[in-house]
Symmetry: C2
Subunit: 187 residues, 2 copies
Amino acid sequence: MDTAERLIRSTQELLWERGYVGTSPKAIQQHAQAGQGSMYHHFAGKSELALAAIRRNAEELRAEAESALSRPGTAHEKISAYLHRERAILRGCRIGGLAQDPDILASAELRQPVTETLDWLHARLTAVLAEGVTHGEFPADLDPATTATTISAVVQGGYVLARAAGSEAPFTQAVEGVEKLLLSKQL
Amino acid sequence: MDTAERLIRSTQELLWERGYVGTSPKAIQQHAQAGQGSMYHHFAGKSELALAAIRRNAEELRAEAESALSRPGTAHEKISAYLHRERAILRGCRIGGLAQDPDILASAELRQPVTETLDWLHARLTAVLAEGVTHGEFPADLDPATTATTISAVVQGGYVLARAAGSEAPFTQAVEGVEKLLLSKQL
DNA sequence: GTCTATAATTAGATAGAC
DNA sequence: GTCTATCTAATTATAGAC
């Protein structure tokens, strides 16, 4: 693996664990086993490297979510597969976590991939729920877009509660609760 | 207002907006209009001041949540009052947001009030939902503790989605969605 | 209690040698 | 491409005068 690649992957890890404000160029260099000069040769600075890492994290998140949401089966099975997919719960969401970072929110460039990824996820969840309504799996009064936002919020909030508690249990329970509420809507 | 009080309140504001890692002693001093010496006279350092500010934010959060949850009416009305209480949505949750901060999570002392406050909220939501089940407002198969975690997660996740989008809409929609799911459980 | 001086460390980067 | 030297500002304090 070349240096630029090691730098990006190290930044992905550190952004995920410590956020943008909590990640220094020095920490990135040490994690990537690259020198100062090397880092500044490949990237103009911290924010440019962070942008590459955030985009990469966004790509990976989309691929993993899409894998669950495009599996064969009913709409409920797809949502369930998404909710129960393997996650490093205590690390939090690699994209959603950045929404708490003041420097990310202050930069239109760094914020864009965060916004776009969550918008994409919302659209995918909405499409799957709409498919469920069309097939008579859910009642016609279930609004796909609204419910998609709720499901996405349960996942993001589940991460927050789990990290605060230092335990995966709140995430698991939050997901279980929303699934039960959704199941009771099934015809 | 005396200096110690101004320092605590300034730290409350800054922790809420920028987190612990993103808040420097200098920024606190400027916001509080206090000098270096003054700050270090009243508090041993950043973390001691942050602890006081986090505890204060936790108290305020509890008071505001309790105000909604103890209003007269049905369980559903209490939950609804909690969900729709006035919030500075784009600022995020003053307690939940800290669960994303690496230095908060790494310190048992700073983390404790975060954990405790969310645990308290969970217990209060659970009690109100249990009351709703007892009174026949919700079906007996609704598990209060699980549903309380889901509701709490929707709120925390709603904040995350709203901040990422730069709009209050996702929060409002996430709350609306969980309320509709909950209403459909009503007898 | 508050102020100013001082300081060790890190953050974030530039310049130029190799 | 990578390394080392250098640099300015910020971070997080401590010391001692007033």
